[in-house]
């Protein structure tokens, strides 16, 4: 588990540690299990909707990517911080067995309503460097004092 991030130590432009994951079929089946979404689009290569929608292979659930970005944001906030808001759009498909890289950068920090607020741009990139899942997050961090 990462060390706690403190507000005083955060700088605008700071990058979050990357998370890389290449979900295989087993991972997507585990995600179906955990999330309750058993759409065969994500684990059955014979599913007729793939052809009907012009998709060449099984794709990751959008919410799987939300969760991956969520892991990075949650780790940044730490157990003493708290994620206040976090959202992404699924602009591009990510395919089974292909590497997804989660990235983030601090865009603003300010004190507001008694909290130490940090804003971030967060996203996933595919292995061609295309941003498939752009988003933002707002986190409250503890002070060192």
């Amino acid at each position: 588990m990462a060390e706690q991030t403190y507000y005083e130590d955060v700088k605008e432009g700071q990058e979050l540690p990357e998370i890389k994951i290449a979900p295989d079929k087993q991972q997507l089946v585990k995600f179906a299990a955990g999330s309750g979404d058993f759409n065969p689009l994500h684990f059955d290569e014979k599913f007729p909707m793939l052809k009907a929608m012009g998709i060449p292979d099984n794709i990751t659930h959008g919410r799987f990517k939300y969760a991956q970005v969520g892991r990075a944001v949650f780790a940044f906030a730490g157990y003493k911080g708290r994620v206040k808001r976090f959202g992404v759009s699924y602009r591009g498909m990510d395919f089974i067995n292909q590497t997804i890289t989660v990235k983030g950068v601090v865009t603003a920090k300010r004190q507001e309503g008694g909290e130490n607020i940090v804003e971030l741009d967060v996203w996933t990139e595919n292995d061609e460097g295309k941003k498939t899942t752009p988003g933002t997050a707002v986190v409250a961090l503890p002070s060192r004092g």
Binding site: M1, S35, G70, R71
Partner: protein
């Protein structure tokens, strides 16, 4: 050329119409299964004693857990798991293709195993872009015991084909 879907006054009238509430029990097993499903190894999602040692009520649900459906065969969609809630909007879109457009959650508290959440939902937006219809629903999740809002979530789905 006619639009693939017309946002009529009838459709607009359904914006904001709340569904009947839906209850979700946040259990240790489901939190662990969700954390396993996303490939997280953070003990805060698995180990109750560890979570309590860090000041939490119990193991903490990962951020994407909010909205994981509580399934019952009589009332829920067999594939996606979501409840066919009473009330709320009925759009009757003709498209068969369905993709996830986006997920945005506002968190007012940590969600932990042992919490029971009550959710209501309403249609928030409908947009037509080319041959695709973007539908956004907004849900409010309250802790059943305290009545406090713990999360608000906006989900966008893309209907096409």
């Amino acid at each position: 050329m006619a639009e693939v879907f017309e946002i009529t006054d009838e459709v607009k009238a359904q914006f904001g119409v709340e569904t009947a509430p839906w209850v979700y029990e946040v259990t240790t097993t489901s939190v662990r299964m969700y954390a396993r499903g996303i490939g997280s190894t953070d003990p805060i999602h698995y180990d109750v004693d560890f979570a309590k040692s860090q000041g939490f009520r119990s193991i903490v649900a990962p951020l994407g857990y909010v909205g994981t459906p509580a399934f019952s065969p009589e009332t829920n969609d067999a594939t996606f798991g979501f409840p066919r809630r009473q009330g709320g909007a009925r759009l009757n879109l003709p498209m068969k293709g369905l993709l996830d457009g986006g997920t945005e959650t506002e968190y007012f508290d940590y969600i932990c195993a042992g919490d029971t959440l009550v959710e209501t939902s309403h249609l928030a937006d409908v947009k037509v872009k080319g041959n695709m219809v973007f539908v956004t629903n907004e849900s409010v999740f309250k802790n059943q015991a305290t009545g406090q809002v713990v999360a608000k979530q906006r989900l966008t789905s893309i209907h096409l084909g």
